[in-house]
């Protein structure tokens, strides 16, 4: 027993010698490192041996064969670039459409003095008076504005041209953006392609054709969406040549609507301006036609004096109200321009979103399968209880 005890002491002594303990740690590290090396090597071998899935991507006319990891990075980059495309497209379209809008609305603004001249002319004011007596003054004034201000300015054909040019320009810019995107992707991934690959079995993703598909798709949806949204727009456009009708976009529709709204808005501004002049309606304004009527009813004044007085009163009214009226008209025009600009921007971003959406859905098709309606989780106890409950 004693000897056994001694042996065990010796054993313990050796085992618990501090240097031996450190040797134990070192041995552990050694074993772990060895295992790590073995695993690493076998991992390498496994990776090299296994038929790592290769992806073929056609970018800018060039076929790249990428391994899975690079392809994942490529997909991420493509998604990112497609998301950036909207900003890029908007930035490229903005100066051009801004300039064109300025140009188109300059016509309208140029027509404002002429309209004001008519408005404050003798004929204009008497016509207003007559229409005011007949009743339907607001609608008549709107028609007049449409005829004398909008049609005379020639802004409608200018806007139509703008629509057509905008669609064409958008398509061009889109193509340019997409080409820049392709070039960047090619530049980035051409050096990372797998060199000696048998590409027959590789599933191909043709970026070029995807983009070509996406581009007309974007234009088409924009066209038809505008037709559907516009509703009455089709009727408005019916008389136009077919080419223009096809090129009409959401921008055009809302441009037209904005013009309609413009006519109405300008009228409202005018009514307000007269209300601020002291009385409720333009008809009974203290000067101008109202004064004439009062004068005719109560006092007998000479016609020449009447005319002279009326003219003087009219001039007075013009000097009093014309600046404010003109300012309102210009405000209205500015607002209409902003509306049209906004709808053009909307068309641009809708096209960009289409592009991004199309590319993203194509590039992630392999990864994300359409999720059917299925529960997210499986709970063992919940599932076991369920059939029992249904049996009962």
């Amino acid at each position: 027993m004693n000897a056994t005890g001694e042996a065990s002491h010796r054993l313990d002594g050796r085992a618990f010698d501090p240097s031996f303990r450190w040797r134990g740690w070192a041995l552990s590290a050694l074993v772990v490192l060895l295992l790590l090396l073995v695993f690493e090597a076998s991992h390498r071998v496994l990776e090299a041996r296994s038929q790592a899935s290769l992806y073929r991507v056609i970018v800018a006319g060039e076929s790249l064969t990428l391994d899975a990891e690079t392809h994942a990075a490529f997909s991420r980059d493509l998604t990112r670039l497609a998301a950036e495309a909207e900003a890029t497209l908007a930035a490229r379209m903005a100066p051009w459409s801004q300039a064109r809008l300025e140009q188109a609305f300059a016509l309208l603004e140029a027509a404002v003095p002429g309209y004001l001249d008519w408005y404050f002319s003798l004929r204009g004011s008497y016509l207003r008076l007559a229409m005011g007596i007949a009743g339907d003054q607001a609608a008549w004034l709107e028609a007049q504005r449409h005829e004398r201000l909008i049609e005379a300015s020639g802004i409608e054909p200018a806007l139509a041209d703008l629509q057509v040019d905008h669609a064409a320009r958008l398509a061009d810019e889109q193509r340019a953006v997409v080409e820049a995107m392709s070039a960047r992707l090619l530049e980035r991934y051409a050096p990372r392609r797998v060199a000696d690959a048998k590409t027959q079995a590789a599933p191909a993703f043709d970026l070029d054709s995807e983009m070509q598909e996406t581009l007309p798709a974007a234009l088409d949806t924009r066209r038809w969406r505008s037709a559907a949204l516009g509703g009455s727009g089709l009727g408005l456009l019916a008389g136009r040549p077919l080419a223009r009708r096809l090129a009409a976009s959401a921008a055009g529709q809302s441009g037209r609507i904005a013009l309609r709204a413009l006519a109405a808005r300008l009228g409202a501004g005018a009514a307000r301006s007269f209300a601020s002049g002291g009385t409720a309606a333009a008809v009974s304004a203290p000067t101008g036609p109202g004064a004439l009527m009062v004068g005719a009813a109560t006092t007998a004044v000479g016609l020449a004096g009447l005319v002279g007085g009326e003219f003087a009163l009219l001039k007075l009214q013009e000097t009093r109200h014309r600046p404010a009226f003109e300012a309102r008209l210009r405000d209205g025009i500015d607002e209409a321009r902003r509306d049209v600009a906004r709808s053009l921007e909307g068309a641009t971003s809708a096209a960009a979103a289409r592009l991004a959406e199309g590319l993203e859905s194509r590039s992630e098709e392999g990864k994300r399968m359409p999720s059917q309606a299925r529960p997210d989780h499986y709970r063992i106890l919940g599932q076991l209880k369920r059939p029992a409950g249904s049996d009962a």
């Binding site: 042996a7 065990s8 695993f39 709970r379």
Partner: protein, 282 residues
């Protein structure tokens, strides 16, 4: 004041256990990059802890065998007392066990960690109780080692059972009606080719997914009765008991490694009983 002193003593006495668990917890919750960087040191640490425990148990067994069958003066005593070969074997097995533990810990949902943390005080309590009971029967010199050896199995079984019960509650991905490849493709986390650790994680995750896929579909397709299905799940989930087994062995090994430092002292001065008693009552 007294409480603080007690807390400090507690920390001092079981600090190694806290430290080991803390390292494991921090590592398994770390980001992928950090986990990859720290993989090697944590693996070495876990291996060393597991090996310390298993070597102690193995030496105990071997010594008992030698004392039982060999004559005192036999040279076999020296040859068989356990040398490089035994150490190497245990290091290898310990490294593999540590690897399984670490990879599984990486995949363990956070909601199962409370169980692992709760196992720590329970283990200490169980060990102390067992040691108090054994102190009347076991030679004082071997008391700690014997206690550690005896406490390992029940603790591991209990922890494994707890983990299995938790797994019954925890949500799994819904895999019914999916092909195996589809299930793997859809639910295997992150396809990025990180280093070896990522590979191991994917391997373990796909093994787990395969188990869940097989059992879910079997239950659903063959309309298994509840007891049968339950039995199937239990058997499948018990393979996860490896985590509990390795974890408890790691804790016990940390204990063994810590107490080893004191052992030569107690053995040579010849008052192990007093030292151990003190430890027991602590």
């Amino acid at each position: 004041m007294a409480r603080r002193v007690r807390g400090r003593r507690l920390l001092h006495r079981h600090g190694h256990l806290f430290l080991a668990v803390l390292v494991l917890l921090a590592w398994s919750l770390a980001s992928n990059d950090w986990a990859g960087v720290l993989f090697l040191p944590v693996w070495v640490l876990a291996t060393q802890l597991i090996v310390a425990g298993s070597l102690e148990a193995a030496r105990l067994r071997r010594r008992a065998w030698l004392g039982q069958y060999l004559r005192d003066d036999s040279p076999w005593r020296r040859w068989l007392q356990g040398g490089a070969l035994m150490v190497l074997r245990h290091q290898l097995v310990g490294a593999l066990l540590a690897l399984v533990l670490l990879v599984d810990l990486r995949l363990l949902p956070l909601s199962e960690w409370p169980l692992l943390l709760a196992a720590l005080p329970l283990l200490v309590v169980a060990r102390n109780g067992l040691r108090r009971r054994l102190s009347r029967h076991v030679v004082a010199e071997h008391l700690p080692a014997v206690t550690r050896r005896l406490v390992t199995l029940p603790a591991a079984v209990l922890l494994a059972l707890a983990l299995v019960l938790a797994a019954l509650w925890l949500p799994q991905p819904w895999l019914i009606g999916l092909g195996w490849e589809e299930a793997i493709a859809r639910h295997l986390p992150g396809g990025e080719g990180r280093a070896l650790l990522g590979f191991f994680e994917r391997l373990a995750a796909s093994a787990e997914l395969t188990r869940q896929w097989a059992m879910q579909n079997a239950v659903e397709r063959f309309h298994l009765a509840t007891p049968v299905a339950m039995l199937g799940w239990l058997v499948l989930l018990l393979t996860q008991g490896a985590v509990a087994w390795a974890y408890v062995r790691l804790l016990v090994g940390a204990e063994a490694l810590r107490r080893e430092g004191r052992s030569p002292h107690t053995v040579t001065t010849g008052e192990p009983a007093a030292a151990n008693d003190r430890e027991t009552r602590a």
